[in-house]
């Protein structure tokens, strides 16, 4: 059985409220990573009552595997609501795996300015990290087999699915 996404979202929102409060952050900019991260970010933003518009990142131009797999066919424009200088960013992704996507997202974020802080929230954190990256807000921790991965399907309804690994996605 895979966990129920709305329940995880409620739990993440609770953790995020606590985190923001203890760090004295009132209005973060919530930024989702395409595609799954954007869905999760939008739900979190609603639950947290953040009024500022949602930010969206497509990290295709920042991936470290371009020299191996080439251009991603569908690159959606990144949309960040404003200048990031001095802002607190809540960066949201669906699955935290190797950490390479987050590395790319951080690089892209810093091309928009110098945020005061970046906090990572992930719906699912699984084993297999290849970089020193960790999430402060996590919906579920999962241990998966080496040939398995977890995918977020959506946008409506959002649900998690365990699938056999696609070699092309290994680096994602």
């Amino acid at each position: 059985m895979t966990p129920d996404v709305p329940t995880l979202l409620d739990d993440m929102a609770e953790q995020a409220r606590h985190y923001l409060k203890t760090h004295g952050i009132e209005q973060p900019i919530v930024v989702g990573i395409h595609s799954g991260g954007v869905w999760i970010a939008e739900h979190l933003r609603e639950r947290l009552g953040v009024e500022r518009p949602l930010g969206k990142l497509d990290i295709s131009f920042y991936r470290d595997d371009f020299s191996r797999i080439g251009m991603h066919p569908q690159v959606r424009p990144s949309e960040l609501p404003e200048d990031l200088d001095g802002e607190h960013v809540l960066l949201v992704d669906d699955v935290l795996f190797t950490g390479r996507t987050i590395r790319a997202a951080l690089n892209e974020l810093f091309d928009y300015g110098r945020p005061a802080s970046v906090t990572l929230a992930a719906l699912v954190e699984r084993d297999g990290r290849e970089l020193p990256i960790e999430a402060a807000i996590v919906g579920a921790h999962m241990e998966l087999g080496p040939a398995e991965q977890i995918k977020l399907r959506g946008p409506e309804p959002l649900r998690l699915e365990r699938v056999a690994i696609d070699p092309e996605d290994l680096e994602a």
């Binding site: 080439g70 066919p73 200048d83 091309d111």
Partner: protein, 337 residues
Amino acid sequence: MTETLIAHPGARLPEPGPLPNRLQLTDDGQLRHMLTIEGLNRELLTEILDTAESFANMNEKAVKKVPLLRGKTIVNLFFEASTRTRTTFELAAKRLSADVLNVNINTSSAVKGESLLDTLRNIEAMNVDMFVVRHEESGTAHFIARHVAPGISVLNAGDGRHAHPTQALLDMFTIRRHKGDFTKLKVAIVGDILHSRVARSQIHALNILQTGEVRVVAPCSLLPANVDQLGVHVYNDLDAGLKDVDVIIMLRLQRERMEHAHLPSEHEYYQLFGLTSRRLQLAHPTCLVMHPGPANRGVEIESAVADGPHSVILEQVTYGISVRMAVMSMVMGAHQA
């Protein structure tokens, strides 16, 4: 350059035209070189325009650069003068974080009698990844693409009267941004079609994108002999050709390519084929006015029109960077795949 090419056995310039795709596409249909628009399909052109769209949005960033081609070296190999094309290619490469080498052959080894292949081999030996080539001879980019080492991409930045694919792509990008769907559009290309590689590439691109109606408007002396085979409606009268069109693409009167007297005088040309404010009223009220530049004001276009509210001439320049970034990243990606 012609003499130096003939000096090399087997280095004959190919006739530009059929089967360019065996050269410019990989086995699985990805773009490896960009030599000509001819023969590409609608999906690929749309993919290029979509990719350019994501790069166009990059201008909002504080740092207008992405690390996509970091560590790649791109050589601008220009055998013919150009400011706009060379600088936008250069800027596109730099915004993709590539290193750029500008080689102007007029002032370099061509005058010392080095052949094109020798020049090519020498620059190749510097471990470069891409050539952007402009040459007065049709077919030069094809020739280079056939002789470069595997893994190196060639982009045609204009060859003789043959093709200027990235210019046509940036024009399509400009039209799509303003007008959306091509199938309902009437587009008129006006001026020196005979000498224009830009017109040839535009006609191919417009037809591949299934444009409603493509018109060419020119005096008979400035039309190529086979113009009716290009899938266009031919007009010799500007007023009739502009009637209700959604897009007007003016071409530069190529004075430097006029070996023979194709025209009585520039003044008469302006009277008959110059785009004036009065004539613009014949077109659709929301008509776009485009020009690949540099415009001869008072020869093919009135200054008030070039600078007027219908003109998107400067947008074309801006979009040229995004479109060239798209093509560069796609060809580099295809080699890796």
